[in-house]
């Protein structure tokens, strides 16, 4: 059974979510219910069926390679909603440590 490998802690980590112990318990039960429901798809033989990712059948849609005017008129407006900014840039926490460099 797939459920044996369902580890709520690792799924939360993959999802970048922090859960409390009581949330872990609740979600583990609820997600197991849902996964059991979708198991019914295994009743169907799909060996010779192609998957559908997009119903339009569109392949690559290209446009002319030129810069279009931005919908957001200015850097100030683009930065307006950011909590932290510096010198007209979004400011984020460091993702690389000095040792690694």
């Amino acid at each position: 059974m797939a459920m044996a490998n369902f580890d709520i802690k690792s799924v939360a980590r993959l999802s970048r979510l922090k859960l409390t112990p009581s949330e872990e318990k609740m979600f583990e039960n609820q997600l197991s219910d849902i996964l059991n429901h979708v198991e019914k798809l295994n009743q169907l033989d799909t060996k010779n069926t192609q998957p559908t990712i997009n119903t339009t059948g569109l392949q690559n849609t290209n446009r002319e390679d030129k810069i279009l005017p931005s919908e957001i008129e200015s850097p100030t407006k683009a930065l307006r909603e950011a909590r932290n900014q510096y010198n007209n840039y979004f400011k984020v926490s460091a993702v690389l440590d000095k040792e690694a460099l």
Partner: protein
């Protein structure tokens, strides 16, 4: 104050032209109703008084300058619209019903919003919803549940809960929604409104906050089929910013003789007897107009919810990955429980070792469901089906059991999976006075056929003219 608010655009335009009232009077009346009643219904997250008055003044000036030509140039002139709070409107708070965006002010407007404004529509506010469009009852909003104006103990349906309640309560003449699995059609049927889920790709979604990109469509709710079509006419068509939007070259021409299919899988014991009896009455109305019916089968219907939830959650986990609190909004700690469920399940079905077992399997069954519809539409022009197995359910009835909530969408998800249009139309009331609606589905880009069939029904019935008493 206006005592008889319009229920149709044509009625509105007649009265505006005759100076029976002005667009500013309309906004006054809607705002005073919102102030008086919305504390009980909770259909709005943000009311945009200033924007509404400024657009109403422009509408009044155009009518006095151009007379009846104003309505030719601006087909939605003076139409007061409530937008689901997933539609970005430049300078207006846009929350997606989530605490993550509770203080976010949109930095641009969606294509659909711009097209509405260009057609003369007035924005009255942003409506409540299940956060991110995740839900079937409106109860997953971080801003509190919306109540059904027909009975405040019942849900209005979701996820476009506030949009349905606002029009049913006469706080606006029309509203916008999004439909990824049911979210326009279900609330429309629970609130006695017409709701369209267009063909996938018929209407640009650019600027509307995404839930599940291979299923998402944007639609509208109105009292009449003809108003619904007027908005669709403004919305449809290509947009360089949404490459899937390609309506014009694909539209299916409409006919004069119709055969409607009755899929046996949609008329089983899972549907309550009142809804089945109602569908029987709908069928009689059409038969009187010489429309033929034919039994058909969509054999993979029962697998729809499983395909839907794998696909929708996988795509939601990817779309919601952008909310990191860096460029806008709060951090991921602000996600509510339903978003967390969907992000985690989506991440799981896409993760190494499980992708083939769940996601790819669902994509393959999706192909089988598409084949069912293709085959059916070689035999019939449209399909008649229930929107929901029951009328609106009580607030709180399904909140502890997410799976039972997901199964409310059993008759609507397949249209999204196949990318075909679905139109929900009011068709009467249950014994306890709750609205019931029926659904017509058609081949891709056959909206004009669905609208024609809807207009035939509404010209022979008057359920859509009944108003909720607040």
């Amino acid at each position: 104050m206006i005592s008889d608010l319009p229920l149709s655009i044509s009625g509105l335009h007649k009265n505006l032209l005759a100076h029976k009232y002005s667009a500013v009077d309309l906004v006054d009346t809607y705002l005073s109703r919102i102030n008086a009643f919305d504390k009980n219904i909770n259909s709005f997250i943000t009311v945009t008084d200033d924007l509404a008055y400024s657009q109403a003044k422009i509408a009044d000036r155009l009518i006095s300058d151009l007379g009846k030509d104003a309505f030719k140039e601006y087909p939605l002139l003076g139409v007061v619209v409530a937008y689901k709070d997933l539609f970005n409107i430049d300078g207006v708070r846009t929350t997606a019903g989530s605490k993550v965006l509770e203080n976010y002010t949109a930095q641009y407007s969606a294509t659909s919003v711009k097209r509405m404004q260009k057609a003369g529509a007035i924005c009255i506010g942003k409506t409540n919803l299940d956060a991110w469009g995740h839900g079937s009852s409106g109860e997953n909003s971080d801003f509190g549940p919306t109540k059904n104006p027909w009975n405040l103990e019942y849900v209005p349906g979701g996820s476009s809960s506030g949009s349905a309640a606002a029009v049913a309560a006469n706080f606006a003449l029309a509203s916008t929604g999004t439909d990824t699995g049911s979210s326009v059609r279900l609330p429309a049927s629970f609130c006695n409104l017409v709701g369209l889920k267009p063909t996938y790709g018929a209407v640009s979604r650019w600027g509307v906050i995404a839930f599940a990109s291979s299923l998402d469509t944007i639609g509208q709710m109105t009292h009449t089929v003809s108003d619904n079509e007027k908005i669709f006419e403004i919305w449809k068509g290509s947009d360089d910013k949404d490459v899937n939007a390609n309506y014009l070259k694909n539209a299916v021409p409409t006919k004069n003789k119709f055969t409607i299919g009755l899929p046996k899988e949609y008329f089983d014991d899972g549907v309550c007897s009142e809804v089945l009896a109602n569908l029987e009455e709908v069928k009689k109305v059409y038969q009187k107009q010489n429309i033929k019916f034919k039994q058909i089968s969509l054999p993979h219907t029962e697998y729809g919810t499983a395909v839907y939830y794998i696909t929708a959650f996988a795509e939601a986990s990817s779309n919601l990955a952008r909310y990191d609190g860096v460029r806008f909004g709060n951090t991921r700690a602000s996600f509510g429980p339903e978003a967390k469920r969907r992000i985690m399940l989506g991440s799981y079905v896409l993760s190494a070792g499980y992708r083939d077992q769940y996601y790819v399997k669902a994509m393959k069954v999706r192909s089988k469901i598409i084949e069912d519809f293709k085959k059916a539409f070689t035999e019939v022009d449209a399909i008649l089906a229930p929107v929901s197995p029951t009328p609106a359910f009580k607030l709180g009835q399904k909140t502890d059991d997410p799976l039972s909530m997901y199964l409310s969408d059993i008759f609507t998800v397949n249209a999204n999976i196949a990318g075909v249009p679905g139109l929900s139309i009011p068709s009467g009331f249950s014994k306890s006075g709750l609205p019931i609606g029926y659904q017509l589905m058609g081949p891709k880009f056959s909206e004009s056929t669905l609208y024609k069939l809807g207009k035939i029904y509404q010209s022979n019935t008057d359920y859509h003219l009944k108003k909720a008493i607040l």
